[in-house]
């Protein structure tokens, strides 16, 4: 029962261009959404989050968009840099529930 889905296993973009990573969810009770970034041989690290009362959250080069009616969120990275090359996980949770659900991840490669 994969409640959070990342349908693109990989994405390759040129340095300086925009990277768009997508995530879909099925549980309409989710009210908190997060993106994590993971480098090889390291644990995931928090990148950015958004509450269900918002539709956009921005932090420097990273912006997360939430479309509740479509149960879809996306992460935009502008401009993309080679150091952004990593696996990105989308995650979602319900307030008060400790079971945060993760997508399968998207491997982003930014080419110089």
């Amino acid at each position: 029962d994969q409640q959070v889905k990342q349908n693109s296993p990989s994405l390759s973009v040129q340095e300086g261009r925009i990277s768009i990573l997508n995530c879909d969810y099925t549980n309409s009770m989710f009210d908190y959404f997060l993106w994590y970034k993971k480098y090889p041989a390291e644990g995931p690290t928090f990148l950015i989050s958004i509450s269900s009362i918002k539709d956009k959250n921005e932090d420097g080069r990273f912006t997360v968009f939430l479309n509740k009616s479509a149960k879809h969120l996306s992460l935009h990275i502008v401009p993309s840099q080679p150091g952004d090359s990593a696996v990105y996980f989308c995650a979602a949770s319900v307030y008060g529930d400790n079971d945060m659900r993760f997508g399968a991840g998207t491997r982003l490669t930014v080419k110089p």
Binding site: Q2, V4, Q6, Y32, L34, Y36, A41, E42, G43, P44, T45, F46, S49, F89, A91, S93, Y95, G96, D97, N98, D99, M100, R101, F102, G103, A104, G105
Partner: protein, 112 residues
């Protein structure tokens, strides 16, 4: 960086043997989690703890047990390891429910 240490970092064991993984935190966070990461599945919750001696099951708890006798330590035990438990195991901590997670560096476990 959050103070989380996982040990061992790598473990090779044989089918049927018991295995214990340790997670140690120095942040005094209330919540602690064990996840496993597998290709195509992302991170899946095994067990979590919301206080000393207070634990609960996650999505994939079969074959695993946990214990938390001190705030700083959360142990994951595979009672009788199977090849399907070959995975990368991540510990995570959280200060309050519905906040971001901080992850350890992971334990690569191979069950032969």
């Amino acid at each position: 960086d959050a103070g989380i240490t996982q040990s061992p970092r790598h473990k090779v064991t044989e089918t049927g043997t018991p295995v214990t993984l340790r997670c140690h935190q120095t942040e005094n966070h209330r919540y602690m989690y064990w996840y496993r990461q597998d290709p195509g599945h992302g991170l899946r919750l095994i067990h979590y703890s919301y206080g000393v001696k207070d634990t609960d099951k996650g999505e994939v708890s079969d074959g695993y047990s946990v214990s938390r006798s001190k705030t700083e330590d959360f142990l994951l035990t595979l009672e009788s390891a199977t090849s399907s438990q070959t995975s990368v195991y991540f510990c995570a901590i959280q200060g309050r429910s519905n906040e971001k997670l901080f992850f350890g560096s992971g334990t690569q476990l191979s069950v032969l």
